[in-house]
Structure formats: structure tokens, C-alpha cells
């Protein structure tokens, strides 16, 4: 028995974890609607009752922004749903989003004491429940909008935020709350970063992201789209235009390719392009929307993270009969959220694990085959995961019409290359101080994926929030 838990506490864990209502796999793999439908009030109350309210709650430490999980679950049990949401909002400004996309099984839920013998409390689902409930109540007119429809007027110094992903949105929102005039500059025509162009509708409805962005705007944040900083304006221009500090949150938007033959054939996509076409440009509504996408009947997706699973499941929804997920390690090492792996299996995605592409072959300029080699796991590498090694002579081929490379993204060098003095890591990420996000250039802060490399929504948000506090201090004191 785990230390420090009384028998009485363990006895309480009788109720099984409440399952998430979902769209039927067969039906959902033909549409782009959200897969998970969300708890009912009854589900939420039942699940919340499983929490044993530990004296020393470990879950809170598992949360990158340390939401007071114990307390918000207690409030749910008392049916104080609005208060529960407020409790979450103290630390996390985007609960409807995080409830859906955080890798809870590696964070809060991993630490949950119940998880030792049983399934942990479904913390993420509860978080989502209270956030969705409020949105529903506002839509139905039961509750007044939590924020004023009139945009607040901010009067303090101007701060520029570059990039409108979770890091930028949260940083700007926090700054506006403190009274700063924050302006977000976004390269694309829509704000939201990966939340809009990357993560598909069936996992994160865009309406939710839109509502969060409306909220950020209502705080007084200005968002200027179609502004590629480094091109239309440089960091120096921004300072000259009166911005007192700059937060760089440009994300990890540079797609990596494997460097194997055939990667430039027609029908081979980076996951970024594939997902951007489908999500941001709505290619799944082609030809009503003008952006096309190659809809293969047989699609191979290479990679094992959320990006790969999102691509594979998108392919299925675009009409593919066969979707292969090719990953060089085993399922255990897959960095994707457990729920996505499970959903992908249910939707009939075929997993080709311990396999790695060596060549993409084509005919008349179009991809028609992918050649792979079987792998086995060797010694652990730097990341602590066992290194995959090819098994000689084990090559095999799969016939395909489309291949999507989802093997990772790096920092987009466009902005950094316009600021030659900015210190970067070997991989091109911006070097920034932990917590404050200070770079080596006075007045320039950075956070989110551009600093950490491709990570998570919650970490990006956390970085945005703590940088906002550091920016406030810098502007008030002038001390760098």
C-alpha cells in the first residue's frame, strides 16, 4: 500500500472511472465533429465523487501550472460548478482547451493516488465539463457572459506579442489584465496558432478556440493578423513604434522531413501542410472551400506523436480506406496522448510499429509505395527511451497514394534571422531564462515552443503567463 494513505481512503475507490461519452467509431471516422461528447452533470458528479481529497494532493504537483485540483473537484462535488471553474481559472485561462488536449496521463492524472490500484480520477474531463457547462449556459442565456462584451480600455505601456498560439494569447491576456496595451501580431490570417491550424476540429472544435480568443480581445488585447514579423516589421521597428517590451511566441512551425529519397514526390506532405490545408483552410469542405488536398485511398503517416495521430485520423475522415501509422519505436514510447492512440485504433488506423521508412517510391511524379525497414529496440538514448535500431534485411513495402511526414517540427527561423544578435540554441530555439523568458536582448522575452521545442499547450500557456509577470516587472522597474 502506498505510504500515507489510510485504509479508509483506499476503500472509497469503488466507483469505476466514468467513461467518456463518444461518437461511435464507425460514424465519427466519416465526419469532422468532435469525437468526445463530454460528461453530463451526473457523470461529472459521479466522477468527482471518486476523488479521495488526499491531505497531500500529488495531482497538483503534476500540473505544469499547479491548478488547485483538489479544491475544484471538491467544488464540483458540492455542485458549485461556477466556483470550480473560477478555481481553475486562477491558474489556467484556457480550461475548455486544456481539458481536451492536455496529456493528463503524463501530468496530474499520473500522480493521482487512485491510479496506483485503479484508474486515476478523470481530472481533465472534469476540467472540460465545468468549462463547457459555462459556455453552454452563456449560449442558452442562463448565465451572463463572464466577461464584458465591451472591450476594456488599457492605458499602460504598449507591449508587442509575436504569435497568437497559447503562449502569446495567455501572455497578452495577462498583460491586458494588468492594464498594458498588448498587441498580438500573427503571421496567418487567423489567430490561435496550432490550436487553429494544427489540432483538428474533431479533437478541438474551433468554436471553442474562437470563444477563448474573443475573451482575450475583450480584455483589451489587439490582434493584428497577416503580420509576419521579421518581414513587415522587425523587432527594432516595434521598439521604434513605442512598444516597451516584446514577447516572442512564434512556436515550432518548421516541418522536418526525413531526408530519404522520394520525399518531394506529389502526394507527400508535411503534417503541417496536411493539417493546415484541412483545418485552417477547410480543405475537407472542398470544393465549397477553395483549398484542395490530395485525398488518397491509402495513406501512410510517419510518426508517433499527437501530430501523427491527428494526421492519420484526418486522412480517415477525408475518405481513406487504409491508413497506416508508421512509427519506429513501440506503442509504449509513442508520445501521443493515450486517448488519441485508443481513438485511432477504434477508427481502424493500422499501426505499423517498430518500422521506419527508408524510401518513398513513385510513378509519373506521384508517390505509390513506401519502403520501410523493421526496427528493434536497443539501449536507451539521451531521451531515456530505447533507441530503435534497424533489423538488416527486413525491408518491406506498402502501397500508398499519400504519405504524411509527422516526425517533428523545429523553430521557424524567419523571425530569428531578422535579429542577428538574438542568442539561439544549436537547434535554432531562442535561448530564454526559465520562468521570466528573458532573452539576451533587452526588452525581448520569449516562451512556448520557440524556446522549448515542440511541447504542449499547457507548458506554452504557463510560459506566457510567467513571462507576463516578468514583463510587468521589467517595465515598472526598468531593471533587466
Amino acid at each position: 500500500m502506498a505510504k500515507g494513505i489510510s485504509k479508509k481512503e483506499l476503500k472509497k475507490e469503488k466507483i469505476p472511472r466514468v467513461a467518456m461519452p463518444e461518437q461511435d467509431p464507425e460514424k465519427r471516422s466519416g465526419n469532422f465533429n468532435e469525437v468526445t461528447l463530454g460528461y453530463t452533470e451526473e457523470d461529472a458528479l459521479r466522477e468527482a465523487s471518486r476523488c479521495i481529497q488526499c491531505k497531500n494532493p500529488k495531482c497538483i504537483k503534476g500540473c505544469p501550472v499547479e491548478i488547485d485540483i483538489k479544491e475544484f473537484i471538491k467544488l464540483i462535488r458540492e455542485k458549485k460548478f461556477d466556483e470550480a471553474l473560477e478555481k481553475i481559472r486562477e491558474k489556467n485561462g484556457l480550461p475548455a482547451i486544456c481539458g481536451r488536449v492536455c496529456p493528463q496521463e503524463d501530468q496530474c492524472e499520473k500522480e493521482c493516488i487512485l491510479g496506483i490500484k485503479d484508474d486515476p480520477v478523470a481530472i481533465g474531463r472534469l476540467e472540460r465539463y465545468v468549462a463547457d457547462r459555462e459556455m453552454r449556459h452563456i449560449a442558452e442565456g442562463i448565465k451572463k457572459c463572464a466577461w464584458s462584451k465591451v472591450t476594456k480600455k488599457c492605458t499602460k505601456e504598449k507591449v508587442a506579442v509575436i504569435g497568437s498560439g497559447p503562449a502569446g494569447l495567455v501572455c497578452a491576456a495577462e498583460l491586458a489584465k494588468m492594464g498594458y496595451r498588448a498587441t498580438i501580431f500573427e503571421a496567418l490570417h487567423k489567430p490561435g496558432g496550432v490550436l487553429v491550424y494544427g489540432i483538428p476540429e474533431f479533437r478541438l472544435p474551433k468554436e471553442i478556440v474562437l470563444k477563448e480568443i474573443e475573451y482575450v480581445k475583450s480584455l483589451g488585447v489587439k490582434i493584428e493578423v497577416n503580420m509576419v514579423i521579421g518581414k513587415i516589421l522587425t523587432i527594432d521597428d516595434l521598439f521604434k513604434n513605442g512598444f516597451k517590451a516584446i514577447f516572442v511566441s512564434t512556436g515550432a512551425g518548421l516541418p522536418y522531413f526525413m531526408g530519404i529519397p522520394g520525399e518531394n514526390l506529389n502526394g507527400v506532405y508535411s503534417a503541417n501542410e496536411y493539417l493546415t490545408r484541412s483545418n485552417l483552410m477547410k480543405a475537407y469542405k472542398f470544393p465549397e472551400c477553395d483549398t484542395p488536398i490530395v485525398k488518397g485511398l491509402r495513406v501512410a503517416v510517419i510518426g508517433g506523436g499527437n501530430v501523427a495521430l491527428d494526421s492519420a485520423r484526418t486522412a480517415k475522415r477525408l475518405g481513406a480506406e487504409k491508413v497506416y501509422l508508421i512509427y519506429r519505436r513501440s506503442e509504449e514510447e509513442m508520445p501521443a496522448r493515450d486517448e488519441e492512440i485508443e481513438h485511432a485504433r477504434e477508427e481502424g488506423i493500422e499501426f505499423q510499429l517498430l518500422a521506419n521508412p527508408v524510401e518513398i517510391a513513385g510513378r509519373n511524379g506521384w508517390v505509390n509505395k513506401i519502403r520501410c525497414i523493421r526496427m528493434k529496440l536497443g539501449e536507451p538514448d539521451d531521451s531515456g527511451r530505447r533507441r530503435p535500431v534497424p533489423i538488416e534485411g527486413s525491408e518491406f513495402e506498402i502501397e500508398i497514394d499519400v504519405a504524411v511526414m509527422a516526425i517533428g517540427q523545429g523553430p521557424n527561423p524567419l523571425l530569428a534571422s531578422s535579429v542577428p544578435d538574438l542568442n539561439l540554441t544549436r537547434w535554432g530555439n531562442i535561448k530564454a531564462e526559465a520562468v521570466t523568458g528573458k532573452t539576451n536582448i533587452r526588452g525581448v522575452f520569449a516562451g512556448g515552443d520557440i524556446v522549448t521545442g515542440a511541447a504542449t499547450v499547457i507548458l506554452a500557456m504557463g510560459a506566457g503567463k510567467s513571462a507576463a509577470a516578468a514583463i510587468d516587472e521589467y517595465i515598472r522597474t526598468g531593471i533587466w
Partner: protein, 287 residues
């Protein structure tokens, strides 16, 4: 929203739009491009910034009607607006005094070659311009080009004006003549800049390859974001994958894999047909 201040018809199918975009006009340089999106359902397409007027805060874009998006664009009038215009994107052309430079424009490619030619002329180069089109009535910007060139040659595929044939054919004859009149058997041309359809640029590259004249082309690949985020625009240069939107759009023509460019340009040809047909059907345009 970006307002169309003025629209000019250059030929039956080609229009020039002057668009209010003061920040872009302020920063734009020859060789750079913009990505536009006409409306909420629209796709993002790249168009070269054909010129910019910093004083009036406008940029001009030249577009030829080919697919649905360009047809929609050509339907816009003075006073209408374009939903999104992003720019300036890509790297600017290298402008300095090289000596004698040949500037080649084919079809709508004359539009982007014009500001580069003008700046090269300003930088002190001796400019030989070769511009071509399928036919006389499709030739654009003849006067503009004339004003910034020391020599101007015109070609047409059908022989209705100037040299009867492709710009690449004329270039070959010009270079041969240049060489034969030169006792050192060394070309006097420092650089060639060619912008137009991919086949034309490939043909120009073949002409200049043997004489090793540095030849620059501006590649017109498929694009989505235009910021290096998606890789839709990838091409092969000197055996390596490059992104046209951030590494280009200009590259050394002798290192470009034109076959790959041509092949990748065709990815969505069928889809474009489908989309355009639906549009024509809805708008009752003649099929």
C-alpha cells in the same frame, strides 16, 4: 481587408490591381511576393509584388485569370476589397552593378521582372530586356520595360510581333551573336534574370548553362502560408530540398530541378478544375 484603389486591364486576361497596404508598400523590395486570400472560403495564393508606391501606400499585383481564385480576383472592381494580403514575403533580388544584365520576362512574368529591371538600371547596369508572350495582344508592360532598358527585344510565339519564337530562342541567337563579335570568345553578359512559366525558365537555363552565365530565376511553386511553415513550396536546388517562400523565390537556374517544379505545380490541376467547374456552374458562367 485591403482595398483596391485602382484596377487596370492589361490584356483580356491580365489585370493590374493597386492595393492599399501602406506597411507592405513601405517594406517591399523587388523580387518579393505577397500571399492573398480573396474571401472567407478562399485559398491562399502567392502573387509577386509587381510594384510599390511608398508615398501613396499602395502595392500593385498583376494577375492572370486561370483558375477559380484568379477569376474571382479579376471580377473585383476598384473600391472592392481583398480579405487578406500578407507580405512582403521571400527574399529581395540582389541589386548591384553587375555590368551587362539580360532581363527576361515571359507572359505575366514580365510583371515581376519589371521592378527588378528598373532597380538594376538605377544601380547602373546596362540592361538588355527580352520580353515575350503567346501573341501581340497578350504582351504586357512593353512601355514600362522600354523605359528602363538600354535594349528591348520582343518575342511572340505566333510571330504577331517582334521575334517569331520563344524568348529562350531569341536569347540563344543573341548570345551567339554576342560571342561571335567578341574576339576573346568570352561573353560580355554578367547575369541573366528570367521570370515566367517554368518551361520558359528551364529553357533559358539550358541556353545559358554552356556559357556559364549566372542565371537567376524566380520560382512559382504552390504555396500555402508563405512563411516556411508547411513545405508545400519545396523544390530541389543543387540536390537539396529548399522552400521557395523563405529560401527563395530566386535561385540559381543552373541548380534548379525544373522537372520536379513542373511536376509539383500540377498536384492540384484536377482539383482546380473541379472547384472552378462548381463555381462556373453556380455562377452560370459559360463552361
Amino acid at each position: 481587408m485591403y482595398k483596391i484603389i485602382k484596377k487596370e486591364k492589361l490584356t483580356e486576361d491580365i489585370d493590374r490591381f493597386y492595393i492599399k497596404a501602406p506597411l507592405i508598400a513601405e517594406k517591399a523590395k523587388p523580387g518579393q511576393f505577397a500571399v492573398i486570400r480573396i474571401n472567407e472560403e478562399g485559398e491562399r495564393i502567392p502573387l509577386t509584388i509587381a510594384d510599390y508606391d511608398r508615398k501613396n501606400g499602395t502595392i500593385s499585383l498583376v494577375s492572370m485569370r486561370v483558375g477559380k481564385t484568379t477569376t474571382l480576383l479579376s471580377g473585383l472592381k476598384q473600391g472592392d476589397s481583398i480579405q487578406d494580403v500578407v507580405g512582403p514575403l521571400g527574399n529581395a533580388s540582389e541589386i548591384k552593378n553587375f555590368g551587362k544584365v539580360i532581363c527576361i520576362g515571359g507572359g505575366v512574368g514580365i510583371a515581376p521582372v519589371f521592378p527588378i529591371t528598373r532597380e538594376l538600371k538605377r544601380a547602373g547596369n546596362y540592361i538588355i530586356s527580352i520580353i515575350g508572350a503567346r501573341s501581340k495582344n497578350l504582351l504586357i508592360l512593353k512601355e514600362e520595360m522600354e523605359n528602363v532598358s538600354d535594349e528591348l527585344y520582343i518575342c511572340s510565339d505566333d510571330g504577331s510581333t517582334g521575334y517569331h519564337g520563344f524568348v529562350s530562342g531569341f536569347l540563344k541567337e543573341y548570345l551567339d551573336k554576342d560571342l561571335s563579335g567578341n574576339k576573346d570568345k568570352e561573353t560580355s553578359i554578367a547575369r541573366v534574370i528570367a521570370i515566367g512559366p517554368a518551361q520558359m525558365m528551364a529553357a533559358v537555363a539550358e541556353v545559358t548553362r554552356s556559357s556559364c552565365i549566372k542565371t537567376i530565376v524566380s520560382l512559382n511553386s504552390v504555396m500555402v502560408d508563405g512563411t516556411g511553415m508547411c513545405g508545400a513550396c519545396r523544390v530541389e536546388v543543387n540536390g537539396k530540398t529548399k522552400f521557395v517562400c523563405v529560401d527563395g523565390p530566386e535561385f540559381d537556374a543552373h541548380q534548379v530541378n525544373f522537372n520536379l517544379l513542373l511536376s509539383r505545380q500540377k498536384i492540384y490541376c484536377d482539383d482546380e478544375g473541379v472547384c472552378f467547374d462548381l463555381y462556373k456552374h453556380k455562377c452560370r458562367l459559360p463552361q
